[in-house]
């Protein structure tokens, strides 16, 4: 009896393993990603301030697995600014972890941590191989976080998104609606769990757009609340006046692809619904980039980017960038980039300041 059972058991096990192997081969875990390393030189025009630095700007590691024909799981782990926990450099961040359901081209759903669709660049701002830039258009440049209030300009994380497109003649109507946390996230373990929203408000937003082979345009909006209880405000404002204020971001994007010529542009306007006479809050961002495909591998561009921030009485500052650059597809998965940017910084608050700086960058971007 025992002699019969063992071969049958072994055969069943082999069959089971073969079936499991076939399933694994069909729905295998894909590991891939990209990185961008750069060499930068910056110089303040009026003062003897100058620096050179190598930097691993970005390394993103993706894990992706198809759970079924219409279901996919995706994880994006991001390492920024030559990350090393040992040396206390850079940032390690879980940027995305979602599962998507692809019912049809009109209706797709993503559940889990994700970057919401807003204007043209928000979703792909950190996908450096997709962009010709080394320094990205201001509010999309993570390294400017200490100069510009980036999370005020853009919705940064959502947890549910319904999106897709509806074909209409030669056009496609894009739609996306998302819900996520407001940015009032607890960072101090003394006040409870970190990483969770401390207010009852949600982030709600979306984008509606049209595109054809030549043109892509859209409007975006998001709504959430700014918690003034935690904002840095002067002592003249009492605790009672520090109520949450509604924050509405409005955006528009226009991109053109006319043969070898490319144009992309966006605006973002952030409005705050506050009736406090002491406070004046508003933020605006504009960017335009014109590009030309000089050859199959070589792309050249020039751009003009502006942010205008008013958070009176605390801050009033403008940043203007004029930039030119080149991107060269060296191999299938390797791009070389060069960029020059002249940055003008002007502030009247917290203290009057005018500065002009030149930035020169070289970078290599690799998909693996």
């Amino acid at each position: 009896m025992m002699r019969m059972t063992l071969p049958v058991f072994a055969l069943s096990l082999l069959c089971g393993l073969a079936r499991l192997h076939a399933q694994t081969a069909e729905r295998q875990l894909n590991i891939f990603g990209y990185f961008q390393a750069s060499l930068g030189h910056n110089k303040v025009v009026a003062r003897p301030v100058e620096a050179n630095s190598f930097n691993l700007q970005q390394l993103n590691l993706f894990l992706q697995r198809d759970l079924a024909t219409t279901w996919r799981a995706f994880v994006n782990v991001e390492f920024v600014n030559t990350y090393s926990s040992f040396r206390n450099w850079g940032v390690l961040s879980l940027e995305e972890a979602w599962v998507s359901y692809h019912a049809s081209r009109q209706f797709k759903v993503k559940l889990g941590l994700q970057v919401p669709t807003f204007n043209n660049l928000n979703e792909i701002k950190n996908r450096t191989p997709l962009l010709p830039y080394i320094i990205r258009p201001l509010i999309y440049e993570a390294s400017l976080n200490e100069v510009i209030a980036l999370s005020e300009f853009l919705p940064t994380r959502a947890f549910v998104q319904v999106y897709g497109f509806i074909p209409w003649r030669n056009w496609k109507l894009d739609h996306a609606v998302f819900v996520g946390d407001s940015p009032n996230i607890n960072q101090d373990p003394r006040y409870g769990q970190t990483g969770v929203d401390t207010t009852k408000s949600f982030l709600v937003g979306g984008r509606l757009g049209f595109r054809s082979n030549v043109i892509k345009l859209g409007v975006s909006a998001s709504f959430d609340e700014l918690d003034l209880q935690k904002a840095e405000l002067p002592p003249g404002i009492s605790q009672d006046e520090r109520e949450s204020v509604s924050r509405i971001r409005l955006g528009g994007d226009l991109s053109l692809n006319l043969g070898r010529f490319m144009w992309e542009s966006e605006f973002v306007r952030v409005n705050y619904d506050d009736d406090n006479p002491i406070l004046e809050l508003s933020r605006n961002f504009y960017y335009g980039t014109a590009g030309y495909q000089l050859s199959e591998r070589l792309f050249a561009y020039l751009g003009y980017w502006v942010t205008l921030e008013k958070a009176l009485p605390v801050a009033d500052r403008d940043l203007t960038v004029r930039t030119v650059g080149l991107a060269y597809d060296f191999r299938e998965a390797v791009s070389l980039k060069a960029q020059y940017a002249r940055v003008r910084f002007e502030a009247t608050k917290p203290e009057p300041l005018k500065d002009l700086a030149d930035y020169y960058y070289l970078a290599v971007s690799v998909v693996f």
Binding site: I124, P129, Q293, V367
Partner: protein, 143 residues
């Protein structure tokens, strides 16, 4: 002068040959479509549509080496290879899809399309064989 006439004559002959070149878009024989439009082809090759009407996943193939067939196909799509590459790269990095497998020759393209359910590819008209069906003929560069 005589040499110049011969050179111009040869160039005209070569141009006429290229203008007469035809490629066909082929699909696996069980694909539920007998013809495709330019817009549908572009939707498949840019990863916008990922399934056939019977829900079979669309598997797209591309050609690795530069060839007349590849040039004609991309001209018909109205996208340069670099533009298509950036579209596929975006799909890949957004977790929305994978770039097509690039095959070494048209002969391999026929074999792969014949052997893969839901497959779509393109070859010179002369290379067509049993096991695949042609759903679109492309002659010249205009859609």
């Amino acid at each position: 002068m005589k040499n110049a006439v011969i050179v111009i004559g040869l160039w005209l002959l070569a141009s006429a040959g290229a203008a007469g070149a035809q490629i066909v878009v082929i699909v696996h024989k069980e694909v539920p479509a007998d013809s495709l439009s330019h817009a549908q082809l572009l939707d498949f090759y840019s990863g916008e549509v990922k399934r056939w009407s019977d829900k079979t996943p669309v598997v797209i193939f591309d050609l690795k080496p530069q060839s007349d067939a590849k040039d004609l196909f991309y001209k018909f799509l109205g996208k340069s290879p670099s533009r298509m590459k950036s579209i596929w790269l975006k799909k890949l990095l957004m977790g929305e899809g994978e770039p097509p497998q690039a095959l070494a020759s048209e002969e391999e393209m026929v074999r792969k399309v014949a052997a893969t359910r839901g497959a779509i590819g393109f070859i010179s008209r002369a290379k067509i064989q049993a096991g695949v069906k042609a759903v679109l003929t492309i002659a010249g560069a205009e859609p």
